[in-house]
């Protein structure tokens, strides 16, 4: 499960109305070398996402990109852990902060960087840009909340069509301000849809702390609709991996929607140069950097080797994209 095989058709759901793309361009140096230990794969994918996001920010600085971007630096472990437990029949819907989700799901760095560069070779021909991506088994949209009923509709399609897959939607703590989210929780629970809501609580909705945005309990908002809530406060990918395995096993019983709440932290600004959070708060959270937590488990030479592979593979992708 998890990563699509090299050269395999990435199309994940036979019933999803997405034109099949011509195989993913997944470089094993980014996506995972066949046969490598799980711990190394998890590290490699997180490192890949981190360096991708940092590269995008650098390209902005250099004036090679326009528009905006929302990096997921600090949150890489979430998507990497969840994807370990997804298969070809599952669908992922993501939000504005979607690069990590996309890369964890498809591994296709070239398609994404070209998309962000606005090139025709991008995954959506440069029309979607950073926030609006579509690949087999994956979609994202930049409006808060609206993707939740869309993902529920995909879950309903799976239920109606007898497809064994799940529809997984990633939201943030800020999304909890959107009314349609609750409309959807109600219907999804009533109809026992095979929907998984992954709430990445990074503590800040753009510049507003959760404490100024959210009344009551996050968990209770889901529990009120009868959804089982799997809640964890962690940036440790191994912990998250095991946790995601339990939560998705529950979802695969197909008894109704399931919520996964991951308390995490965004180590970077919201989009670009717009961080007014207390510096000491951010600094303290760097101690919980998921790359470091998990990287320490790897031997120094193994880690350095992966870092070097990711670096050279990403550089090739960027060079290739720039040349397009």
């Amino acid at each position: 499960m998890g990563w699509p095989h090299e050269g395999a058709q990435l199309m994940t759901t036979v019933d999803t109305n997405v034109a099949a793309s011509a195989g993913g361009r997944t470089d094993p140096r980014l996506a995972g070398v066949p046969g490598e230990p799980r711990a190394e794969r998890l590290y490699r994918r997180m490192r890949f996402i981190r360096r991708f996001e940092e590269t995008v920010l650098e390209l902005f600085e250099r004036g090679l990109l326009n528009g905006t971007t929302h990096a997921c630096i600090g949150q890489e472990a979430d998507a990497v852990a969840i994807v370990e437990h997804l298969g070809d029949h599952d669908h992922m819907f993501s939000n504005h902060r979607c690069h990590g989700h996309f890369l964890a799901r498809t591994g296709d760095a070239l398609a994404l960087i070209a998309e962000i560069m606005g090139k025709p070779e991008g995954v959506c021909g440069g029309i979607g840009g950073s926030q609006h991506l579509c690949a087999p088994g994956f979609m994202s949209n930049g409006v808060q909340g609206g993707i939740v009923p869309n993902a529920a509709g995909i879950a309903l399609a799976k239920q109606l069509g007898g497809d064994a897959g799940l529809s997984v939607v990633f939201i943030g703590d800020g999304t909890l301000g959107e009314g349609v989210t609750y409309e959807t929780l109600n219907v999804a629970s009533l109809w026992k849809l095979p929907l998984v809501i992954v709430l990445e609580d990074n503590g800040w909705a753009q510049s507003t702390p959760a404490g100024a945005n959210l009344a009551g309990s996050m968990r209770d908002r889901f529990a009120a609709f009868g959804l089982p809530v799997f809640e964890i406060d962690s940036t440790d990918v191994e912990e998250l991996d095991a946790f995601a395995g339990r939560a998705l096993a529950q979802a695969r019983k197909r008894e109704g929607p399931v919520t996964i709440v991951i308390h995490t932290y965004r180590l970077c600004h919201h989009s670009k140069n717009d961080d007014n959070r207390p510096a000491e708060e951010v600094a303290a959270r760097w101690d919980l950097d998921p790359i470091e937590i998990h990287g320490r488990r790897l031997g120094p030479s193994a880690r350095a080797a992966i870092d070097a592979e990711v670096e050279s593979a990403l550089q090739e992708v960027v060079d290739q994209a720039v040349a397009l």
């Binding site: 999803t16 793309s21 959506c124 029309i127 949209n141 009923p149 509709g153 309903l156 399609a157």
Partner: protein
């Protein structure tokens, strides 16, 4: 057959013909069968495929979008056209965008039916014709039911494509009998049907040859029926001859039938029930004026309801809505 029954039969036909069709909406299931009874019987005949939802318009349309992205052909009902505002984000930022912003990698052919319009004293939030807010939304079709269009032909045409559509059904049409063109005629009038490349019909109705018509009236839905009655009477009683054009798709418009008529009559009146200001009529006027500048006998005329809330009092409602009398006044003005 009355329009409500014909529309229900049309839904039944496409449910029978196409397994991908799913109906979602508030209070659709039997024995209630929908607030206006259009879907009566369907939930019994197609269990699981005709579903009542909670009162959650945003979720109804958002779920429909997910179904459509997955290859289904959802037809959602929004109980009153006034409530379509609750779906605006889903329609504009999700459904109408997906295919284009994903560069054709996905399609999202949601159909949304919504009973609209006044004349029944339902008051400010259950009487509106809000379709003007959806005109010109890229990649969205806005379609209106009229008595002269076969509902099943329209649904089949929309199902033959992969684009989303908003279908406006005026409530006052439901109890009226369809008046479909037969043998090129509707009653005593000539009725010419032109079908766009997308398969959607526009019907042109005239009492005499086009060259003997002195003006063109463009209208849809219930206003088209009001205009047809006035034009029919004026032709018989006063030998005032005008041609009525009734498009099924009101945005984007199929211009050929309109241009063909206006190029001969050189006078155009556009009638709609929505309130005046930034209207369908003003868009048509701008386009027609640009194309026919210098050839028109007079500026394009428009008629719409007054720009205010729709009162619950039937007497007050009749003062601000497009009524049969107002339709007649507008037509007489362009005819003379």
């Amino acid at each position: 057959m009355i329009a409500a029954r014909a529309m229900g039969d049309a839904l039944r036909a496409v449910l029978n013909e196409d397994d991908r069709v799913i109906l979602l909406g508030e209070d659709l299931v039997d024995p209630y069968g929908g607030a206006f009874k259009v879907t009566r019987g369907l939930s019994t005949e197609f269990p699981g495929r005709v579903r009542s939802t909670p009162i959650s318009e945003g979720a109804i349309i958002g779920l429909s979008a997910g179904l459509a992205l997955s290859g289904y052909r959802p037809i959602a009902e929004i109980m009153f056209g006034d409530f379509i505002t609750l779906c605006f984000d889903q329609i504009v930022n999700h459904i109408a965008k997906y295919e284009a912003m994903y560069n054709g990698k996905a399609t999202c052919p949601v159909m949304i039916r919504t009973p609209s319009g006044g004349g029944r004293g339902y008051g400010p939030t259950h009487s509106q014709s809000l379709e003007k807010h959806f005109l010109g939304v890229p990649h969205l079709r806005v379609v209106s039911s009229s008595l002269v269009h076969d509902p099943v032909a329209v649904l089949r045409a929309l199902l033959a494509q992969n684009r989303p559509a908003l279908l406006i059904e005026h409530k006052l049409l439901y109890p009226l009998h369809l008046m479909l063109p037969a043998g090129g005629r509707i009653e005593d009038d000539v009725a010419e049907t032109q079908v766009s490349d997308d398969g959607l019909p526009t019907v042109s109705i005239r009492p005499v040859d086009r060259k003997d018509c002195s003006f063109t009236v463009l209208a849809y839905g219930y206003q088209a029926e009001l205009a047809r009655r006035v034009l029919s009477r004026l032709a018989v009683e006063e030998e005032i001859f005008g041609e009525l054009i009734v498009p099924s798709q009101i945005s984007p418009l199929h211009w050929e039938p309109i241009d063909a008529s206006v190029s001969v009559t050189r006078r155009l009146l556009v009638i709609e029930e929505g309130v005046e200001g930034c209207t369908w009529g003003s868009e048509v006027a701008a386009r027609i004026s640009a194309r026919f500048f210098g050839e028109l006998h007079q500026p394009v005329a428009t008629a719409a309801s007054d720009p205010t809330v729709i009162p619950a009092s039937k007497m007050l409602e009749a003062r601000m809505l497009m009524t049969p009398e107002r339709v007649e006044r507008a037509i007489r003005k362009v005819a003379t």
